[in-house]
């Protein structure tokens, strides 16, 4: 059948115009190649002629089909009328405008978005701000010191209280306000020169010790080996430290009050 593809249309003309008996040798060979007998040849010929003669019967659809389709067409036309169709040049113009606006926003030299960096040191304005902040902090510290004046006065009173206790009794009784009674509350006189070890204090006799008290509630009494009172690292700027030389405790000769 594949070979028949080459002369199918010609075959149609052939079969319609020629009787089998009138076929030449070449045409007969072609029919034999397809396995088409004389009987089949005439069968096809008659059928083909009948088809050609047959009146073309047309089927007509119902009228409502057309009406419905015209309604659908109208709806489609209305929908299309509602849709604004931009021509290509308009789309390109809009796109270009959007790109320009975005570029101006991102790369504008006057925009403050470029002035912000993470390098604080390299920014002179930032350094100036830092200096200003430092100055403000210093002034605030001074202000706090001034405001702590009543506390200083209170400490002085406490010192006086210590003096009174030490003079009236042989034991050291540091009776400051209740918040300060953390750690050592009473030290016998005979034990004072010896090493006193508490949970938060340590004293050795090798060097004259200094008893340091703090008015800060969280601070404990601190024994140090230096004659001069020192400020502890955890002592805040506004704390008031009272230093008492242990060597002088028996006689209560000298008392040093250091105010930070």
């Amino acid at each position: 059948m594949e070979s028949f593809e080459k002369y199918s249309q010609e075959f149609e003309q052939l079969i319609l115009n020629k009787e089998y008996s009138l076929l030449n040798k070449n045409e007969l060979q072609q029919l034999d190649a397809e396995g088409l007998s004389e009987e089949e040849y005439y069968q096809i010929r008659e059928t083909l002629l009948a088809i050609k003669e047959m009146d073309s019967e047309m089927e007509f659809p119902s009228e409502h089909v057309k009406n419905k389709l015209l309604d659908v067409f109208d709806e489609g036309a209305q929908k299309q009328a509602r849709i604004i169709v931009f021509p290509m040049w308009a789309k390109l113009t809009l796109l270009a405008a959007a790109c320009i606006a975005l570029g101006l926003f991102l790369f504008n030299p006057n925009s403050t978005i470029n002035n912000t960096t993470n390098e604080v040191a390299s920014n002179s304005q930032s350094s100036a701000n830092e200096d200003q902040l430092i100055n403000n902090t210093s002034s605030e510290s001074n202000t706090v010191s001034t405001d702590q004046t009543p506390i200083i006065d209170n400490t002085s009173k406490e010192t006086n209280q210590v003096d009174e206790i030490q003079s009236s009794d042989e034991s050291i009784s540091i009776n400051t306000n209740s918040d300060n009674q953390v750690g050592v509350s009473e030290i016998p006189m005979e034990e004072a020169p010896t090493a006193i070890v508490t949970s938060n204090t340590s004293v050795s006799n090798s060097q004259p010790a200094t008893l340091t008290t703090s008015s800060i509630p969280t601070s404990a009494y601190k024994w140090t080996n230096s004659l001069e009172s020192e400020k502890s690292e955890d002592v805040e700027s506004n704390e008031v430290v009272q230093s008492v030389s242990l060597a002088d405790f028996p006689n209560v000769i000298s008392q040093t009050v250091t105010i930070y």
Partner: protein
């Protein structure tokens, strides 16, 4: 300026339809609906209701998306391509339902073909031809219908089926031979 739609070619009508010309759509429908309806009827088991549905579906496609048609090409092969595709969809639906697409009615037809009066009755021939066409598979039936009922050229049919002209010739020969073999009683017409 009024347009005489009857003088416009199919392609020109489609141009007007793309421009949402309702009258052009109406003219195209009038021109093609009988042929397409017949085509659907032949391919879809002479089911009129189904053929009308398919015809409606086809023209809805044209009305909604006329721009799918390339106006530089011929309209007739294109519209029959769409129609054939719709028929294929129907065949698939029928196959899913479990019905056989090509019913082999040959023995039954042979038994009923003894009536001599039918031999000379063209109407009877036409009826029988439709029945025999039902026994042929879809590509051959479609090719035969397009060639002998819709009178499309071989080239147009090849465009419809997206195949070579050689394949069209082969299918035509196969269909013709099979139909002739099943209608021996009409040989004398």
């Amino acid at each position: 300026m009024s347009i005489n739609y009857s003088t416009l070619s199919d392609e020109q009508l489609m141009e007007q339809i793309i421009a949402r010309d309702k009258l052009a759509f109406s003219a195209l429908y009038d021109r093609y609906s009988p042929r397409l309806m017949s085509y659907f009827m032949r391919l879809l088991w002479n089911n009129r209701e189904l053929a009308e549905d398919c015809l409606q579906e086809l023209f809805i496609k044209i009305s909604r998306q006329p721009e799918l048609f390339d106006i530089t090409r011929s309209f007739r092969p294109w519209v029959f391509t769409v129609a054939t595709n719709i028929c294929k969809m129907e065949y698939r639906k029928t196959s899913r339902k479990g019905q056989s697409v090509s019913l082999d009615l040959a023995p039954e037809l042979a038994d009923n073909s003894s009536n001599i009066s039918e031999r000379i009755d063209k109407k009877a021939f036409s009826k029988k031809l439709k029945e025999v066409l039902e026994t042929i598979d879809e590509p051959h039936k479609s090719t035969f219908t397009l060639r002998y009922f819709e009178e499309l050229s071989l080239k147009e049919i090849s465009l419809v089926h997206n195949c070579s002209e050689g394949t069209v010739k082969s299918r035509l020969f196969y269909a013709l031979r099979k139909i002739a073999g099943k209608m021996p009683q009409f040989q004398s017409i």
